[in-house]
Symmetry: C2
Subunit: 235 residues, 2 copies
């Protein structure tokens, strides 16, 4: 018997942007499936419902795959796939498997010989890089910065050094309510000539992407509070 | 007078996949523009023509923006945008600004206060990462590996060390006709337990994404010759 396939299904990264960022392929793949592993069942249902695909949502099976899901649960969730059922993974924002728990299911799928198929969708990391004007031939994404003040400043310093030494774009983020603080920490910590790109609310109504050197940022007011933002620095 | 905007317009990463990977937004943005900076004029025209948007392609203005375009030419190409004309950037593959010359125009746009708007599209780097099952909270993209044998092996060793030491996914590539050689170099250089993900022909008819440890790859035959492939390693 053929094994099922695992589809990595993107969702929106800003509210009410389905028409802009979701491809016809995403719609077709969702229509073809009845089994989903999702980071949040309520929001995944709501997302599929908003796409107006005409599928009976109450007949679809949703199982939770979040940061608390352990490996043995993931194995169990994938056993129908080994027996031939296709499955889709949907995370809370953007493309599953990048900075979310989807990757443990993908790793397990590869071990079991299940084919993994990524579907095109919006990624705030990639779109911030595109729009930064920085080196896209070499870049590092660091995820969330440390919360501890000292560790955080040391991390910013080490990223600034790598940006210079390796000509490598350094991309990072924080939880939205700490964005303004992170922005201030970067301005205070980096040299005047270092370039900073701030990509706020990508694809959404608050989208604003600016790239300036630190001395110019010092004169600029920008409201990042509670709006998802990606930061990039370069020499 | 308001300045024009700069749109970063994705194209396909595999032939005849427009229906799958190109969003309605890309189509609408292209329809709204008559001025494009493109990495290759012939392929950009052909792409727009394939989208069947009903726009008179012979009336659109295409200007070359490739790896030989210098900064003063880019300034000239952006002067209509400063005066209010919108412009779209289209590269040879995927999302402009990542591993292509689009980023020099983006950097110049930021200096001139031109708004930069990235549009959602396919990225082989990001889709390879999604489908690898590796850590997406921390990753580095290294671009093309060195051609010189000794430098190449040393680069593979240093990526393997970083993957272990930093728990960081290491992503890299080569020109398609050197893929098979690169694959062999990775197999020979890395330890048996190191994980390698090979993402071949993403979104296309030859798509195949496999993640295995090196000792399992030694027993696996895979044809990568002349097919665009993204490699990722992780501890």
């Amino acid at each position: 018997m053929n094994k099922g396939k695992l589809f990595l299904i993107p969702t929106v990264i800003a509210e009410n942007t389905e028409t802009n960022v979701i491809t016809e392929q995403v719609r077709n793949v969702i229509k073809s499936l009845d089994y989903f592993l999702v980071e949040n069942i309520r929001t995944a249902r709501r997302y599929i419902s908003k796409l107006k695909l005409g599928v009976p949502i109450e007949e679809l099976q949703f199982e939770l795959l979040d940061k608390n899901t352990d490996t043995s649960t993931v194995e169990k969730l994938l056993s129908p796939v080994v027996r031939g059922r296709n499955v889709g993974i949907i995370s809370e924002s953007g493309c599953p498997g990048v900075a979310d728990p989807g990757s443990i299911a993908v790793a397990s799928a590869h071990q079991k010989g299940i084919q993994v198929i990524p579907i095109t969708g919006p990624s705030s990391i990639l779109m911030a890089l595109m729009a930064s004007g920085f080196n896209g031939q070499s870049f590092t994404f660091h995820g969330y910065l440390p919360i501890d003040k000292k560790d955080r400043i040391e991390k910013i310093r080490s990223m600034e050094r790598d940006a210079q030494k390796l000509n490598q774009t350094q991309i990072f983020m924080d939880t939205p309510y700490r964005n303004q603080k992170l922005f201030q920490d970067v301005i205070k910590t980096c040299s005047n000539g270092t370039m900073l790109s701030v990509a706020r609310g990508i694809t959404g109504v608050n989208e604003l992407i600016l790239t300036k050197d630190i001395s110019n940022w010092e004169k600029t007011k920008i409201d990042l509070n509670k709006i998802p933002t990606i930061f990039s620095i370069h020499a």
